[in-house]
Amino acid sequence: MNDTANPGIVAQIDREIVRATQAGLPLVPRPYHAVADVIGVAPELVIARIEAMLRDGRIRRIGVVPNHYALGYIANGMSVWDVDDARVDALGAKVGAQDGVSHCYRRPRRLPQWRYNLFAMVHGRDRAQVEAKLVVVAEVLGDAVRAHDVLYSTRILKKTGLRLGPSA
Protein backbone atom coordinates (compact mmCIF):
# COMPACT_ATOMS: atom_id res chain seq x y z
CA MET A 1 0.00 0.00 0.00
CA ASN A 2 1.19 3.47 -0.84
CA ASP A 3 1.48 5.71 2.24
CA THR A 4 -0.66 8.38 0.64
CA ALA A 5 -3.10 6.10 -1.20
CA ASN A 6 -5.82 6.22 1.40
CA PRO A 7 -4.79 8.21 4.46
CA GLY A 8 -7.87 7.26 6.48
CA ILE A 9 -7.31 3.55 6.08
CA VAL A 10 -3.55 3.86 6.66
CA ALA A 11 -4.16 5.83 9.88
CA GLN A 12 -6.63 3.19 11.05
CA ILE A 13 -4.17 0.36 10.33
CA ASP A 14 -1.38 2.23 12.12
CA ARG A 15 -3.64 2.68 15.09
CA GLU A 16 -4.50 -1.01 15.13
CA ILE A 17 -0.80 -1.88 14.96
CA VAL A 18 -0.14 0.42 17.95
CA ARG A 19 -2.98 -1.17 19.88
CA ALA A 20 -1.86 -4.71 19.02
CA THR A 21 1.76 -4.08 20.07
CA GLN A 22 1.56 -1.59 22.94
CA ALA A 23 1.77 -4.39 25.50
CA GLY A 24 4.69 -5.88 23.54
CA LEU A 25 5.51 -7.94 20.48
CA PRO A 26 4.45 -11.60 20.53
CA LEU A 27 7.31 -13.98 21.43
CA VAL A 28 6.99 -16.19 18.36
CA PRO A 29 9.34 -16.75 15.41
CA ARG A 30 7.25 -14.49 13.13
CA PRO A 31 6.02 -11.74 15.47
CA TYR A 32 4.92 -9.31 12.73
CA HIS A 33 2.92 -12.08 11.07
CA ALA A 34 1.23 -12.74 14.40
CA VAL A 35 0.32 -9.04 14.68
CA ALA A 36 -1.00 -9.13 11.10
CA ASP A 37 -3.20 -12.12 11.97
CA VAL A 38 -4.64 -10.29 14.98
CA ILE A 39 -5.64 -7.22 13.00
CA GLY A 40 -6.53 -9.08 9.81
CA VAL A 41 -4.13 -7.58 7.27
CA ALA A 42 -1.20 -8.90 5.24
CA PRO A 43 2.11 -9.29 7.13
CA GLU A 44 3.90 -7.27 4.45
CA LEU A 45 1.62 -4.35 5.24
CA VAL A 46 2.36 -4.56 8.98
CA ILE A 47 6.08 -4.59 8.26
CA ALA A 48 5.78 -1.64 5.85
CA ARG A 49 3.72 0.42 8.31
CA ILE A 50 6.07 -0.29 11.24
CA GLU A 51 9.00 0.76 9.04
CA ALA A 52 7.11 3.96 8.16
CA MET A 53 6.45 4.68 11.87
CA LEU A 54 10.16 4.13 12.64
CA ARG A 55 11.10 6.58 9.87
CA ASP A 56 8.78 9.35 11.03
CA GLY A 57 9.56 8.86 14.72
CA ARG A 58 6.21 7.60 15.94
CA ILE A 59 8.19 4.51 16.93
CA ARG A 60 11.48 5.57 18.55
CA ARG A 61 12.93 2.08 18.38
CA ILE A 62 11.93 -1.56 18.72
CA GLY A 63 13.58 -3.61 21.42
CA VAL A 64 13.75 -4.24 25.14
CA VAL A 65 13.51 -1.95 28.13
CA PRO A 66 15.46 -3.25 31.11
CA ASN A 67 14.48 -2.78 34.71
CA HIS A 68 17.18 -0.46 36.14
CA TYR A 69 17.20 -2.20 39.47
CA ALA A 70 17.51 -5.71 38.02
CA LEU A 71 20.63 -4.62 36.11
CA GLY A 72 22.18 -3.14 39.24
CA TYR A 73 21.40 0.50 38.47
CA ILE A 74 19.91 1.02 41.88
CA ALA A 75 20.63 4.76 42.07
CA ASN A 76 18.18 6.66 39.90
CA GLY A 77 18.24 10.39 40.42
CA MET A 78 15.96 12.98 38.91
CA SER A 79 18.25 16.01 38.98
CA VAL A 80 16.46 19.34 38.78
CA TRP A 81 18.01 22.72 38.10
CA ASP A 82 16.88 26.32 38.27
CA VAL A 83 18.48 27.69 35.12
CA ASP A 84 18.36 31.18 33.62
CA ASP A 85 15.47 31.13 31.11
CA ALA A 86 17.51 32.91 28.48
CA ARG A 87 20.18 30.19 28.53
CA VAL A 88 18.28 27.01 29.38
CA ASP A 89 17.70 25.84 25.79
CA ALA A 90 21.34 26.11 24.75
CA LEU A 91 22.49 24.45 27.97
CA GLY A 92 19.79 21.76 28.01
CA ALA A 93 21.14 20.25 24.82
CA LYS A 94 24.63 20.11 26.36
CA VAL A 95 23.35 18.52 29.57
CA GLY A 96 21.45 15.91 27.53
CA ALA A 97 24.67 14.97 25.75
CA GLN A 98 26.47 14.10 29.02
CA ASP A 99 27.28 10.47 29.75
CA GLY A 100 24.76 8.99 32.15
CA VAL A 101 21.96 11.45 31.40
CA SER A 102 19.09 9.45 29.90
CA HIS A 103 16.33 12.06 29.66
CA CYS A 104 16.61 15.83 29.68
CA TYR A 105 13.65 18.19 29.50
CA ARG A 106 12.60 21.77 30.15
CA ARG A 107 9.42 21.97 32.22
CA PRO A 108 7.52 24.88 33.81
CA ARG A 109 8.31 26.18 37.29
CA ARG A 110 5.51 25.97 39.85
CA LEU A 111 6.29 28.82 42.22
CA PRO A 112 6.42 28.97 45.14
CA GLN A 113 6.59 25.16 45.55
CA TRP A 114 8.92 24.39 42.68
CA ARG A 115 11.61 26.63 41.23
CA TYR A 116 13.34 24.17 38.87
CA ASN A 117 12.93 24.32 35.08
CA LEU A 118 15.50 21.79 33.82
CA PHE A 119 15.09 18.07 34.54
CA ALA A 120 17.84 15.52 33.83
CA MET A 121 17.56 11.84 34.77
CA VAL A 122 20.84 10.27 35.89
CA HIS A 123 21.42 6.58 36.56
CA GLY A 124 24.22 4.83 38.40
CA ARG A 125 25.10 1.65 40.23
CA ASP A 126 25.26 3.68 43.44
CA ARG A 127 24.62 7.25 44.54
CA ALA A 128 28.32 8.13 44.37
CA GLN A 129 28.23 7.42 40.61
CA VAL A 130 25.18 9.64 40.23
CA GLU A 131 26.76 12.42 42.30
CA ALA A 132 29.91 12.29 40.16
CA LYS A 133 27.82 12.73 37.02
CA LEU A 134 25.94 15.62 38.62
CA VAL A 135 29.24 17.42 39.28
CA VAL A 136 29.83 17.33 35.52
CA VAL A 137 26.31 18.60 34.80
CA ALA A 138 26.84 21.46 37.28
CA GLU A 139 30.05 22.39 35.47
CA VAL A 140 28.22 22.46 32.14
CA LEU A 141 25.55 24.74 33.58
CA GLY A 142 28.10 27.01 35.25
CA ASP A 143 26.80 30.36 36.48
CA ALA A 144 23.46 29.91 34.64
CA VAL A 145 22.25 27.67 37.48
CA ARG A 146 20.84 29.29 40.61
CA ALA A 147 19.86 26.19 42.59
CA HIS A 148 19.55 22.46 42.13
CA ASP A 149 18.38 19.31 43.83
CA VAL A 150 18.31 15.58 43.14
CA LEU A 151 15.33 13.37 43.89
CA TYR A 152 16.28 9.69 44.18
CA SER A 153 13.63 7.12 43.46
CA THR A 154 13.02 4.77 46.36
CA ARG A 155 10.29 2.60 44.83
CA ILE A 156 8.79 1.87 41.43
CA LEU A 157 5.06 2.13 42.00
CA LYS A 158 4.09 1.47 38.38
CA LYS A 159 5.86 0.99 35.07
CA THR A 160 4.03 0.17 31.88
CA GLY A 161 4.16 1.34 28.32
CA LEU A 162 1.70 3.40 26.37
CA ARG A 163 -1.91 2.31 26.69
CA LEU A 164 -4.44 3.33 24.09
CA GLY A 165 -8.09 2.87 24.86
CA PRO A 166 -10.29 0.49 22.87
CA SER A 167 -12.08 3.24 20.95
CA ALA A 168 -10.80 4.41 17.59
Binding site: T21, A23, G24, L25, P29, R30, Y32, H33, P43, I47, I50, E51, L54, D56, R58, I59, R60, R61, I62, G63, V64, V65, P66, N67, H68, A70, L71, Y73, M78, D89, G92, A93, V95, G96, V101, S102, H103, C104, Y105, R106, R107, R110, Q113, W114, F119, H123, D149, L151, Y152, S153, T154, R155, I156, L157, K158, K159, T160, G161, L162, R163
Partner: protein, 147 residues
Protein backbone atom coordinates in the same frame (compact mmCIF):
# COMPACT_ATOMS: atom_id res chain seq x y z
CA UNK B 1 21.84 -13.85 34.46
CA UNK B 2 24.66 -15.28 32.35
CA UNK B 3 26.78 -13.89 29.54
CA UNK B 4 24.24 -14.73 26.83
CA UNK B 5 21.48 -12.97 28.81
CA UNK B 6 23.67 -9.87 29.04
CA UNK B 7 24.43 -9.90 25.34
CA UNK B 8 20.73 -10.36 24.54
CA UNK B 9 19.78 -7.38 26.74
CA UNK B 10 22.50 -5.17 25.26
CA UNK B 11 21.80 -6.16 21.66
CA UNK B 12 18.03 -5.77 21.96
CA UNK B 13 18.41 -2.30 23.47
CA UNK B 14 20.02 -1.22 20.22
CA UNK B 15 17.19 -2.45 18.07
CA UNK B 16 15.14 -5.37 16.79
CA UNK B 17 14.80 -5.99 13.05
CA UNK B 18 11.59 -5.54 11.11
CA UNK B 19 11.56 -8.63 8.91
CA UNK B 20 9.85 -11.98 8.64
CA UNK B 21 11.99 -13.83 11.21
CA UNK B 22 13.67 -11.20 13.38
CA UNK B 23 14.56 -13.56 16.25
CA UNK B 24 16.34 -15.82 13.79
CA UNK B 25 18.42 -12.87 12.53
CA UNK B 26 19.42 -11.77 16.05
CA UNK B 27 20.07 -15.35 17.20
CA UNK B 28 22.57 -15.82 14.38
CA UNK B 29 24.32 -12.61 15.44
CA UNK B 30 24.51 -13.82 19.06
CA UNK B 31 25.54 -17.37 18.23
CA UNK B 32 22.41 -18.99 19.61
CA UNK B 33 19.19 -20.44 18.22
CA UNK B 34 15.87 -18.77 17.53
CA UNK B 35 14.11 -20.98 20.10
CA UNK B 36 16.71 -20.27 22.78
CA UNK B 37 16.53 -16.52 22.17
CA UNK B 38 12.72 -16.46 22.36
CA UNK B 39 12.77 -18.57 25.54
CA UNK B 40 15.31 -16.28 27.18
CA UNK B 41 13.46 -13.06 26.32
CA UNK B 42 10.32 -14.70 27.71
CA UNK B 43 12.15 -15.57 30.95
CA UNK B 44 13.79 -12.12 31.31
CA UNK B 45 10.34 -10.52 30.98
CA UNK B 46 8.76 -13.00 33.40
CA UNK B 47 11.42 -12.50 36.09
CA UNK B 48 11.30 -8.69 35.79
CA UNK B 49 14.79 -8.14 34.35
CA UNK B 50 13.07 -6.60 31.33
CA UNK B 51 9.98 -4.44 31.68
CA UNK B 52 9.10 -4.39 28.02
CA UNK B 53 9.80 -5.92 24.62
CA UNK B 54 8.38 -4.32 21.50
CA UNK B 55 8.01 -0.96 19.77
CA UNK B 56 8.64 2.14 21.92
CA UNK B 57 6.14 4.74 20.82
CA UNK B 58 6.59 8.50 20.89
CA UNK B 59 3.14 9.47 21.93
CA UNK B 60 3.65 13.14 20.99
CA UNK B 61 4.28 12.19 17.38
CA UNK B 62 0.84 10.57 17.37
CA UNK B 63 -0.91 13.65 18.70
CA UNK B 64 -0.74 12.59 22.33
CA UNK B 65 1.03 14.02 25.33
CA UNK B 66 3.31 12.95 28.18
CA UNK B 67 2.97 14.97 31.36
CA UNK B 68 4.99 14.57 34.53
CA UNK B 69 2.97 15.18 37.68
CA UNK B 70 3.90 15.29 41.35
CA UNK B 71 2.13 15.06 44.68
CA UNK B 72 3.11 15.44 48.33
CA UNK B 73 1.56 12.34 49.87
CA UNK B 74 1.49 11.79 53.63
CA UNK B 75 3.66 8.75 54.43
CA UNK B 76 0.74 6.82 55.92
CA UNK B 77 -1.32 7.25 52.75
CA UNK B 78 1.36 6.25 50.21
CA UNK B 79 0.01 2.81 49.34
CA UNK B 80 -3.59 3.95 49.18
CA UNK B 81 -2.80 6.97 46.99
CA UNK B 82 -0.48 4.90 44.77
CA UNK B 83 -3.30 2.41 44.21
CA UNK B 84 -5.69 5.21 43.24
CA UNK B 85 -3.17 6.82 40.87
CA UNK B 86 -2.00 3.53 39.34
CA UNK B 87 -5.58 2.46 38.65
CA UNK B 88 -5.76 5.11 35.92
CA UNK B 89 -4.78 3.58 32.57
CA UNK B 90 -3.12 6.86 31.52
CA UNK B 91 -0.52 6.52 34.28
CA UNK B 92 2.51 5.00 32.53
CA UNK B 93 5.11 5.31 35.30
CA UNK B 94 4.89 6.13 38.96
CA UNK B 95 7.91 6.52 41.23
CA UNK B 96 8.26 7.25 44.90
CA UNK B 97 11.07 9.78 45.45
CA UNK B 98 12.88 11.30 48.41
CA UNK B 99 11.41 14.80 48.58
CA UNK B 100 8.43 16.64 50.06
CA UNK B 101 6.91 15.96 46.63
CA UNK B 102 7.31 12.22 47.06
CA UNK B 103 5.14 10.75 44.30
CA UNK B 104 6.03 11.43 40.65
CA UNK B 105 4.02 9.91 37.84
CA UNK B 106 3.82 10.25 34.08
CA UNK B 107 0.51 10.57 32.28
CA UNK B 108 0.44 9.35 28.68
CA UNK B 109 -2.70 10.62 27.01
CA UNK B 110 -3.96 10.50 23.46
CA UNK B 111 -4.70 14.21 23.43
CA UNK B 112 -3.27 17.12 25.47
CA UNK B 113 -6.84 18.04 26.50
CA UNK B 114 -7.22 14.84 28.54
CA UNK B 115 -4.41 15.80 30.92
CA UNK B 116 -6.32 18.36 32.95
CA UNK B 117 -9.34 16.07 33.32
CA UNK B 118 -7.15 13.23 34.61
CA UNK B 119 -5.32 15.51 37.03
CA UNK B 120 -8.65 16.76 38.31
CA UNK B 121 -9.78 13.15 38.77
CA UNK B 122 -6.63 12.34 40.79
CA UNK B 123 -7.19 15.38 43.00
CA UNK B 124 -10.83 14.41 43.54
CA UNK B 125 -9.99 10.79 44.30
CA UNK B 126 -7.17 11.56 46.74
CA UNK B 127 -8.02 15.00 48.12
CA UNK B 128 -4.41 16.03 47.42
CA UNK B 129 -3.23 18.76 45.06
CA UNK B 130 -1.30 17.69 41.95
CA UNK B 131 1.45 19.77 40.35
CA UNK B 132 1.69 19.24 36.58
CA UNK B 133 4.95 19.60 34.68
CA UNK B 134 4.20 19.28 30.97
CA UNK B 135 7.21 18.87 28.75
CA UNK B 136 8.10 22.23 27.19
CA UNK B 137 11.26 21.16 25.40
CA UNK B 138 12.91 17.78 24.97
CA UNK B 139 16.69 17.97 24.78
CA UNK B 140 17.55 14.30 24.90
CA UNK B 141 15.92 10.90 25.44
CA UNK B 142 17.81 7.65 25.18
CA UNK B 143 18.01 5.25 28.02
CA UNK B 144 20.33 2.36 27.36
CA UNK B 145 21.84 0.52 30.30
CA UNK B 146 24.65 -1.95 29.76
CA UNK B 147 23.85 -5.26 31.41
Amino acid sequence: MDDLDRRIINTLQDGFPVCEQPFCAIAAELGTTEDELIARVDRLLADGTLTRFGPLFQVERMGGAFTLAAMAVPEARLDEVAAAVNALPAVAHNYQREHALNMWFVLATETPEEVSAIIHAVEQATGLPVLAFPKERQYFVELKLRA
